[in-house]
């Protein structure tokens, strides 16, 4: 329905952008390899432009339902692959987000620009990350002009972090990035952290070069020693040092092929990582610990106003630190007066679903002995005639069964239960 002219012009713009980029770094053609997953396709600008929607194929009837079901099935299979046994996850996380703010970020191969897209995804990432890791903290370091720039101190409050990257003009990309400077800066801000919490860095890297004052391998080995896990999402191409940073520290490395893939790569880092069992560390694994936490009472709006210790403003509502009685605006936080970690019980509960996940449902392939005609959760009527040509891992009846309560669920609820709800409606009754 869209007129042809529109998309044509997009493609042209993109091709020129890519062409220009390639010209600028013609010497490092080998680096393009990572970007170009399909090697035999030749150069990026020669390959036909593929987008996620191009990979979705209509069936004979012109319907997309088959393709959509295929996507769902892929998600299901990934879930089944995940280890079912309870694994240890790091619940208390500390993450420094390293944003490339170099001139390479103004490239337009991702729309509107790499920079704008990264900022947008970073915001979504931070919101979602705090949602799933309420006890975690995020700091942000920018890389531009050859130095590391502290954009935001380590903070447990999503609002603080989001505010730090809300002003675009303060982050305008310029100059060359320096991985070493930025990593050292991030490392120093995490050196004091207790061992039971994770130390992670996530680098969004658009450039293919880095200007470093010293040997970056020394930085890498000190990160390994400090048990810092570095993950990197490259927007341009794979470089050896980036790959090595991630491999040596146990992080993940990925090259974003397009906007959607970029987002996927980022969001894969949101669930708490399984705890590392690196025996290599000198002190052995000391990852478990007992933490002292304060559970505050929420004061009603009608409480007498008092100065809060975090903003020094008169507030009526708020929380009281149970140890020193200081007035705090929000939880979770660390009490500014006595340093006690303040959490409310819902914050702890938010992490429980990582620890007690719902078991994957099994695929129903035959209707023998089935009595229910509707989805147990949403009462949607279920099919009783099998649909043809289903791929592996998809039920021909749109039925998925919980192994514990033997209730049947529809596809929609299967996804909802495992991705959002995290408890099986059948088992709870």
């Amino acid at each position: 329905m869209n007129s042809g002219s529109d998309s044509d012009s997009f493609d042209e713009g993109d091709l020129t952008a890519r062409g220009r980029k390639a010209k600028g770094k013609s010497g490092s053609r080998a680096n393009e390899k990572g970007k170009q997953k399909a090697k035999d396709q030749g150069y990026a600008w020669e390959a036909t432009y593929t987008r996620s929607w191009d990979t979705v194929q209509e069936d004979e009837a012109g319907s997309l339902t088959g393709a959509v079901a295929e996507l769902l099935a892929r998600g299901r299979r990934r879930r089944l692959l995940a280890p079912a046994a309870a694994i240890r996850r790091t619940i208390i996380r500390h993450l420094v987000l390293l944003l490339d703010l170099s001139a390479a970020m103004s490239d337009r191969d991702m729309r509107p620009t790499r920079f704008d897209l990264s900022l947008e995804y970073a915001r979504e990432f931070i919101t979602e990350w705090f949602d799933q890791n309420p006890l975690g903290q995020i700091g942000i370091v920018g890389m531009r002009g050859g130095i590391g720039e502290r954009v935001c101190e380590m903070s447990g409050n999503p609002q603080d972090v989001l505010k730090a990257i809300s002003e675009r003009h303060k982050l305008e990309p310029i100059g060359e990035p320096s991985l070493q400077n930025a990593i050292e800066m991030a490392r120093s801000s995490m050196s004091h952290l207790p061992t039971h919490s994770s130390r992670e860095m996530l680098v969004i890297f658009g450039s293919l070069t880095t200007v470093d004052p010293g040997n970056i391998y020394e930085t890498l080995s000190s990160c390994v020693k400090d048990r810092i896990r570095i993950s990197l999402v490259a927007l341009a191409a794979e470089t050896k040092i980036c790959r090595e940073l991630c491999d040596k520290t146990g992080g993940t490395f990925g090259v974003a092929m397009n906007e959607g893939h970029f987002k996927d790569l980022l969001f894969e880092l949101i669930p708490p990582p399984a705890q590392q069992h690196t025996g290599a560390g000198a002190g052995g694994k000391m990852s478990a610990d007992l933490m002292m936490m304060g559970f505050p009472q929420r004061l009603p709006d009608t409480a007498p106003a008092a100065l809060c210790v975090c903003h020094a403003q008169m507030r009526a509502a708020g929380f009281l630190c149970p140890r020193c009685g200081a007035r705090l605006c929000d939880a979770p936080t660390d009490c500014d007066v006595c340093g006690l970690m303040i959490v409310s019980s819902p914050h702890l509960a938010r992490s429980y679903h990582h620890l007690f996940p719902v078991k994957p449902y099994s695929v129903v392939t035959t209707l023998d002995g089935v009595t229910s005609t509707t989805c147990h959760a949403c009462a949607r009527p279920l099919e009783d005639t099998p649909s043809a040509n289903v791929s592996e891992g998809v039920s021909p009846f749109d039925r998925y069964r919980c192994q514990d309560c033997k209730s049947d669920f529809c596809t929609e609820c299967d996804v909802f239960v495992h991705d959002v709800l995290h408890c099986c409606p059948g088992c709870e009754t």
């Binding site: 140890r323 909802f416 409606p425």
Partner: protein
Amino acid sequence: MDRSCHLSLIIDLSPSQWHLSAQPTNPHPLSFQTFLSLVLTFLNSHIAAKHENTLAVFGALPGKSTMLYSSLDADSSNTNDPPADANSYRPFKFVNTIVTKNIQKELDLLEGLTEEPPVTLVGALTMALCYINRLAHPPPGSVATETTTEADARILILSVSPDLSASYIPVMNSIFSAQKLRVTIDVCKVYGEETVFLQQAAHLTGGSYIYLERRDAFLQYLTMSFLPPPSIRHMMAVPRQDKVDFRAACFCHKNIVDIGFVCSVCLSIFCSPVPVCSTCRTKFPMKTLQRLNASRPSIPPANGVSNGSPRPPSARPSQGMSASLR
């Protein structure tokens, strides 16, 4: 124009609690029959407000949850229609008949039971959430649901049973899902003691929690507090609970603690430093224990001990208890 809204009502159908509620020794006895007729009136008021308003009713029974009515599926099942009647508006009559019939059917099924398992509200709550999720994601190909996708959805829980400590984690998970779906959870505690889980549910989703004091004015409570759709709530002084207890109970003695010791692996809460986590069997380093023992507040969780009634595992403190603490 104001938008249509969806209401998912969850009725707690615990026979024993309703039996207690109807006892004439109560200050305002409320029998289930009266309750049901008032609830049906409330449901009719909801549908009356707008032609497009949708409704789903769930029942939480002992050991079972079931859907009693859904306006989405009701239209198609025209087989057992109530006879048309010139004296009443058909949609109202329809709801009344179906809900009453289904409740009767479920209660009849319970007759044979000798022992009553506890009512699990959370089952009904998760079903309601799945149903709302279904409204928000109509299957491809259906056209009629264009209006419902836009609708504001809310859940109203009419509870008579006490908290079930085993369902703490599912309740919290449901609350977070409701937040994601932008669903408001309202709670009306019709009979029995305050439930902390539901208080938190209402607080965290921006709904209101009301403990029904004047049970003779039940309908007026329902109408004034729970009928307004969330879109106009900011204009009304709908009562909300102001004090919410976010303190936790330790896993070892079920004491309510102000300051607790939390296992970094499984987030179990203890009232005093322990060498081994009782939940996940993790050993804690000796150094930490010494440090924590040294820095422990001089009055250890005396709050909990002094009040220390035995509590179910991982239950949160009740309102009454926390009041006595202050």
